[in-house]
Symmetry: C2
Subunit: 684 residues, 2 copies
């Protein structure tokens, strides 16, 4: 795996980057496409199958509706792509759906989109990995026999890779994605060639199977409902389309234009592959049943529990290339790989969205820091845990997981497009230039249609899939929404509590007048001497040393040493029969404050700085505890005077290494650019 | 469970105790006996059986040697008791074997004893619980059928009780222990009465079983070796005798005399019960086999795997009282209860010994603080974990666990007695008073005999039991010894590194001359204003505020607010394109130090103090990280200026409650008294 820095003619941004940040270079379109499109393109591996599967409920005759459903999906895809081309032009900062909804529809809409996206990231991992395992399983039976285990294993592996901080690279994405696209197109071309030119009749492995319809002879409303459900399932092909709108800053200039072009290319590829696979599935007589064990009939009897229903893409490949041939295995491998890459995108998107939410105080502040390893790790582990849970519960069955998937996507599509309509309305109020106005009116029309269409699909998805699992996704969204609202409320309450009063009086309590400094002393060693020296340097009104006597002999030795060295700071000794350190100090500080409420007590604590975690266990524990307690005492400040032991060098190096770590996902995030909260001034 | 404070006429020690420490009152002998003797007395529940078990290897005929072995155990018991009566007189401070060995034989011997005792505590839990489960099992078959599970459950229960901090109370100990002693004596008296006066022939459940000897007709060296092995097993009756020597401070005055009397009473009770049970076992024809499944013959065939060999005490009780009678069940329950209490003593002894070892820097310093809950908990969990491991590995089989048990006890007996001989030698060198000299010479004679005899037993135990499991105990000792040596070495190395130079020059680095104070500012809220006010109060040579700009708009707002309020401290703003906080600050501080190496940089960090753990996650994370990094930077001190939010009240209360927690085991530890490292001045 080579880094993107190897890509020639890389353009470095603004100020010189340190070597450890060099990975963040700009993406040419040919690399940007695979980086952002592995998720939406990979969904053609499962979306066509889902359509056939739902239609099979009404029997094989209903398969005739599949071209119409494909057309509907294509129209929707073009609508969504056209809409998002407006988004990337209007919001080149890469805020994505969350930013669009937040800015134009208000915080509640923004938070709803954010919750939907977070749920979606979890489902992207669960669905992509499950589907990847199923595709790999069509070539390697072992994998599909231990489906759940393999899926969980793959998630764990991805998680470990991301935790270790594998650098994302454009090439890493490009090769499998282009391999997958090339493979699918080769299959389509070869299939059409065999069928039309050579006149071969190709047979999918399930071509001589029959399907027992669950509901024979559906008509009227029931049939429409079934078709809508099939269409909803087909919409799985649209997941991940919005990814590019988050990644505009990673594109080369002109960023927005390049992003829009890439979006169009991606849409075109996706619909071609989607329609092609459905078409070949029809030609090769693929049969998919919702409950294959009892509804798939072979030689007059159901196939039973042991039967494994391979994905449509692999059945078509078996028909076109021949089962087990080199090209068949290659396509299966490429499909699995691109699906794993799609899952990996969630690992990059989840923390990125987290950092944006943290900036708006919906998540802990520390997530805001870019490349904060700890925050990143927490996000990754949360994502992986949720995905593993889902995979486990649903037995890594992509069909059942997809029922949950599409809700979140369309919630964010709809809200984002509605937000865009508002965006154009607002700009039209002030824009005078007729050419620009025309442009805006056109964009508004596109987004309005997009909002309407995706909203309609959302209603259809909710109506047809709620009981099939969509409620789980909604529940997840409600949980995220509730948690983030609570966090925001906490921050707001604290902000209110600590807001400075407006008159420039300064402090809220009694104005402090004097500083009484106390240096905690246990022995007269270098750390103590340093603390004493430093404390003397800052001229406080009163300075004394304080020692807690837990052992008479040690205390006596300390007192003698003190006098022998002629230290000109008074030494106060407090008795502690229970060998406690914390309580006597706290009591003493409180007594001082009671006597002179306007005194500020400044406590100096000499601390050893050590290098290894096990050394931490051996030092500073009582100092840490004391510090913890002192911080609860009003009118006190606590100063750590560190003394670096030799072993601390090791820890220093480690800390530096940690600081220089870069979070995965930096390729798609592009170079750093200040994100503006109100990007109204951007012109499309 | 009532506290010991209910015992009338309690004597409060020295200074008035706070209410939360009132539990620590002094023990009258009648309470001290059960508190300290539950461990040694309970061992008569398993020791007699072990003797018979080993003898059975040579066939039932070898049972005739059992009275001789009992005599040897009695002689040993008297020797040990007599020896420890010298210990408690010479060391009324309660340091126990570790202190005696450490003071008189040097740190290596002391550490050996400490390692042996730590291993012993683990084994006390494992053996007592296993034996308790076996005794309970003689009345309740379910328990013995799920032996390991029940034993682990009992350990977990004890652990949870101790972690929660159940207050030890004298009565809690007194009732089961006296019940047990009374029950055993009732059994002995009633058994002798039935046999001698009524002339009944009593039959143990196994009286009509036969034993197939593993080695028929042993003679010569082999027989002697077997007898020695049986004797070694019988020595299990002596475990726990040393406990009183740790607990002298808990006794009423005259402490040493009362402790010595209690020791004698305990010894007398133990040997009577031990001999009585062996005697009745002979009378009632109890049969014990090492491998009952194949060596115990009933009606001509081995009893097989399903057979459960009940402990001798319960077989005798069945013979004397009748199986399943009220008295039988009562005695079984009392036996189990007293064994669980014996296990509980380890939970008290382990952290106590830990705190003494911590004082000598063999364990982390924080263990030294009495009643330190965290340290206590860690000790408890370590003890429980090790005991559960042993119980699991050995299937809660007390017979197999006892093989490991006795080594540690006799290591500490032998080293302690040897230490006492040295102690008297040293005192005899300076003592002039003839009466005292006579007394000392007598004491020395007793300890010399004790050292010799226990040393001999140690050799016997090692020789006869090494391959049977004693090596595991030795390995445990080596691990403890190694770990503690390493910790001590670390502390010594650090102590050397930080030792102050002898000339009163003061500091080791360039003598600091000025203080440059930096207040970190993110926003102008109350915490910041407080930090600014405090920083101004301590008059440093230079004072500035520093803000890291991660968002242009926020920075602008801060600058405006700063000017509007007319704050007379210069505000410096550093850019951070990666939204990092730590690195720019560190770099800035380093640059300052480079320019003026004699400057000390004082960094003030405003911190929120919040009340709940989840609030911690939301605040101060970057401050904490920054602080961590700053401590590695030389010439820096870091001051936390806390701002207590309203929610911090909750945490304050919680912290106070934690501080007022008293560790279990305080009854046996007695009131606080300064422990002197060199107690040579104590006269016996």
């Amino acid at each position: 795996m080579s880094k993107l820095t190897d890509v020639p003619k890389r353009i470095l941004i603004g100020r010189a980057l340190r070597s450890d940040k060099l990975g963040e270079t700009l993406l040419p379109k040919r690399i940007a496409l695979p980086v952002f499109a592995s998720d939406p393109l990979s969904s053609v591996a499962y979306a066509p199958g889902e359509v056939l599967l739902v239609l099979s409920i009404a029997g094989v005759s209903a398969y005739h509706f599949s071209p119409w459903i494909a057309v509907a999906v294509v129209v929707l895809m073009f609508t969504v792509v056209a809409s998002y081309r407006q988004n990337v032009r209007a919001y080149p900062s890469g805020g994505g759906d969350y930013e669009v909804a937040n800015t134009n529809l208000g915080p509640k809409a923004g938070l709803t989109v954010a919750s939907a996206l977070l749920v979606d990231y979890v489902l992207t991992v669960a669905v992509s990995i499950s589907s990847g395992v199923e595709n790999l399983g069509s070539a390697i039976p072992f994998v599909v026999e231990h489906k759940t285990l393999c899926a969980v294993g793959a998630i764990v592996l991805l998680t470990l890779m991301n935790l270790r901080g594998v650098k994302e690279s454009g090439k890493l994405f490009a090769i499998p994605t282009y391999l997958f696209v090339a493979g699918v197109f080769a299959m389509l071309v070869w299939g059409v060639f065999r069928s039309v030119v050579l006149g071969d009749t190709m047979h999918a492995p399930t071509s001589d199977y029959e399907i027992k319809p669950e509901h024979q002879g559906l008509a009227g409303f029931a049939l429409v409902f079934l078709l809508l459900r099939a269409f909803s399932s087909g919409c799985a092909a649209l997941t991940g389309v919005e990814a590019i709108s988050n990644g505009v800053p990673a594109f080369r200039k002109p960023k927005s234009k390049n992003a829009a072009t890439t979006l169009a290319a991606m849409g075109l590829l996706a619909v071609t592959m989607f329609c092609g696979i459905i078409g070949l599935a029809m030609v090769t007589d693929v049969k998919m049943a919702e409950n294959p064990a009892k509804d798939l009939i072979h030689n007059g009897s159901p196939v039973g529990e042991g039967f494994v229903q391979d994905p449509v893409i692999s059945q078509v490949a078996a028909a076109v290339f021949g089962d087990g041939t080199f090209f068949f295995v290659l396509l299966a491998a490429a499909t699995a790989l691109v699906l794993f890459l799609a899952a990996n995108t969630a690992y990059n998107g989840f923390p990125l969205l987290g950092s944006i939410l943290a900036q708006d105080r919906y998540l802990p502040r520390q997530l805001h820091t870019r490349g904060d390893r700890l925050a990143f790790s927490n996000g990754i582990v949360l994502l992986a845990g949720a995905a593993i849970l889902l995979v486990w519960i649903y037995g890594a069955d992509s069909t059942r997981l997809i029922q949950l998937y599409i809700v979140g996507v369309f919630v964010s599509f709809t809200l984002s497009q509605t937000g865009m309509v508002r965006h154009w309305n607002r700009h039209l109020r002030t824009e005078q230039d007729p050419a620009r106005r025309r442009h805006m009116i056109r964009s508004r029309a596109i987004n309005t249609f997009g909002a309407f269409f995706t909203g309609l699909v959302l209603v259809v998805v909710l109506a047809t899939k709620f009981t099939h699992g969509a409620w789980v996704a909604l529940l997840g969204m409600v949980i995220f929404f509730g948690t983030m609202t609570a966090i925001r409320r906490h921050y707001d309450r604290v902000a209110e509590e600590i807001a400075a009063p407006d008159e420039p009086s300064g402090d809220d309590t009694i104005r402090p007048s004097r500083v009484h400094s106390i240096v905690l002393v246990s022995k007269l060693h270098r750390p103590t001497l340093r603390a004493l020296a430093y404390a003397k340097l800052v001229r406080s009104d009163q300075l004394e040393a304080l020692s807690i006597s837990v052992d008479a002999a040690e205390t006596k030795a300390l007192r003698e040493d003190w006098e022998r060295r002629g230290i000109d700071i008074p030494l106060k000794i407090l008795d502690s029969p229970y060998r406690e350190v914390t309580r006597p100090v706290i009591d003493y500080v409180k007594a001082l404050r009671k006597d002179r409420p306007r005194d500020v007590i400044s406590v100096y604590i000499p601390e050893y700085v050590v290098g290894h975690w096990y050394e931490h266990l051996l030092h500073n524990q009582s100092a840490l505890r004391l510090k913890g307690r002192l911080l609860f005492t009003p009118g006190v400040m606590v100063t750590s005077v560190p003394y670096q032991l030799e072993s601390s060098e090791a820890a220093k190096l480690r800390a530096r290494r940690r600081a220089e770590w870069t979070a995965p996902g930096s390729v798609r995030r592009g170079p750093v650019e200040r994100r503006h909260k109100e990007p109204h001034h951007h012109k499309s």
